[in-house]
Symmetry: C2
Subunit: 360 residues, 2 copies
């Protein structure tokens, strides 16, 4: 890994009000950039003032969407340490995404070092209020100016960071979710297991229609039979049915969430019956009818746990746990957020400390 060049910003921005942070709107003083050119590989890692990117209008990302991203968070502990949650998992997943879109692989250790270096430079931006964090967005885009439909020969890898507020301002609470019956997010053989830019644009319309109907999110069904549960907007999904927790298996069309993985570790450690398998919406409906649908919750970096209080499917409304947060949902939420902000012991070694002496 070559040394990171550092060009400090000459004017630092005022920090935003921590009690009033909108997601992904305010960015820190610096950003990280790294270039890729065919023949030369990834090169010129640098931390520079946050500012516009200049791209040829023929840059491939604009035309063919060859772009992937990651999302992770850093937290400020009570004793003022900065803790990064499982960045190695994001590094791995980024390479899964890269491979799917024929983007050159990145060194996973370098990825983590770059993230740490940028956080260190802007460490004053990691907020400290309860529930707040620094959201970190690494992304890669194809920048070769060429209209041929093929893999680009030039890329930019960038990291930008945004302080984010508490997801739940008034404590964790359940949401209403609608099972999507028309649109499809992904299908096996497609890109659903990768974090590609295109996967998100295709979900916007369904999401808008759901919002319009009073729902927080849509629950996607599989693209083949439109019968099996996949995931929610930006979350994986878990159900507790008759004492057993289940989540859809990683079948090639859903994203392998880092939170999903963490939740599974906890469930296994706690000895809670658990399985990853194919789950039909019909099965969920029947469990609900029989009074056996005990909990449902989404998992993702943004909210950690998002309990589902009501699930709508065709003409059916399934009320879950009387619209209250379930016991397991709450316990997982408390445990993961407790580890993230340093209040609970990190017995899994999930936190990565961002030292102050990172060299840039």
């Amino acid at each position: 890994m070559s040394a990171i060049r550092f060009e400090p910003s000459s004017s630092l921005k005022p920090k935003p009000d921590e009690s009033n942070l909108e997601f992904g709107k305010t960015f820190t003083d610096h950003m990280f950039l790294l270039d890729y050119t065919e023949g030369k590989g990834w090169h010129d890692p640098r931390i520079v003032p946050y500012g516009p990117l200049t791209l040829d209008p023929a840059a491939m990302v604009f035309h063919y969407g060859q772009a992937i991203f990651e999302g992770l968070k850093a937290f400020r502990s009570k004793d003022n340490k900065i803790l990064l949650f499982r960045p190695d998992k994001n590094a791995q997943r980024m390479n899964v995404s890269n491979d799917r879109l024929s983007i050159p692989e990145m060194d996973e250790e370098a990825f983590v070092e770059y993230v740490k270096a940028l956080i260190n430079v802007d460490r004053d931006w990691v907020p400290s209020a309860e529930g707040t964090s620094l959201y970190i967005r690494p992304f890669i885009m194809a920048v070769e100016p060429c209209l041929g439909v093929r893999a680009s020969k030039q890329y930019v890898f960038a990291i930008i960071m945004s302080p984010v507020g508490a997801y739940y301002k008034e404590g964790i609470h359940p949401v209403k979710i609608s099972v999507e019956s028309h649109y499809v997010r992904a299908v096996r053989g497609g890109t659903g297991f990768a974090k590609t830019a295109g996967n998100y644009s295709s979900g916007i319309k369904a999401q808008e229609e759901a919002k319009h109907g009073g729902f927080a999110q849509v629950l996607w069904l599989d693209g083949k039979e439109h019968a099996y549960i996949e995931e929610v907007g930006s979350m994986n999904i878990f159900f507790k049915i008759d004492g057993e927790v289940v989540t859809p298996e990683l079948n090639g069309s859903i994203l392998a969430g880092v939170t999903r993985d963490s939740v599974i570790r906890l469930l296994n450690d706690w000895g809670i019956p658990f399985s990853e398998r194919r789950i039909s919406i019909q099965e969920i409906y029947e469990a609900s009818q029989q009074g056996k649908l005990e909990e449902a919750f989404g998992t993702g970096t943004a909210a950690v746990i998002s309990p589902v209080g009501e699930l709508h499917w065709l003409e059916h409304t399934m009320k879950i746990n009387e619209g209250r947060t379930g016991e397991i949902s709450q316990k997982i939420y408390d445990t993961i957020t407790g580890i993230q902000n340093g209040k609970l012991e990190d017995s899994y070694g999930w936190n990565v400390l961002v030292h102050e002496d990172v060299k840039v």
Copy 2:
């Protein structure tokens, strides 16, 4: 439609060698830009020197791929007129794509006027050598700097243009195509019928593997049953089986090609038996076994017609018309290219003349 502002380039570039044009690598002196802001609508149409775009690193297009595009061509006729092929169809399709990705609709007549105005400014860039043309790339991207996953509130519509060489340097000739048996391009309920950026990035890997195996392109099968024929990389596909020409119906997962539409018009006018319907790869294989697979050809703006000489599916190789260009393929090619370059009468009213007096 508000007047187009014109900022001429102060230094015009030398024109490239017409006998040696690489697709989508050289761009004309100017580009067209138009902005969209929520509340204000599309505004500030302008023709400015071709040059870099400056975007915030949080611009949504980089993260969530909310971007669509079009592709069409202008031709220089022997009597030096500039003819644009069916731009109204691209305008319509752009709005289909916009709708699918929750991008605000554009005025279709304005779209055509913008294309004409830009061509007029750079009309010296329309090449005249046999088979050459000016490729026109209108595209829209989400530019609001925000990491929330939702429709952007700001967009840029741009048009860039590139002189392109003859697709067939040594005359029209058939290619080898491989039927894709693992990857999927699109599924019903997804974005396959729209020209979204993300649809193309997801096809790159399959395309690379096909190239590696010695094939020009892949033929996509449907995402649901992996049994029915959809389309080729950037082309729709037609087969002639036992005297009848068939093409997959527009089922929600394939693109409605402008060339496809033109071909259908010709076939009907010529009284050639034709149908749009579901076509399984099994049916094609059986027709081939029985000696009834008489022709196969792709249709698209780039090549107009691309005859298929060999089709590979699993362990089967289907040789079509002994690897030679079929009679109908050739006749369609000659007719459409003849209309496009003004050598044949344009009895369908497909050509739009780009007058010299377009106001900018």
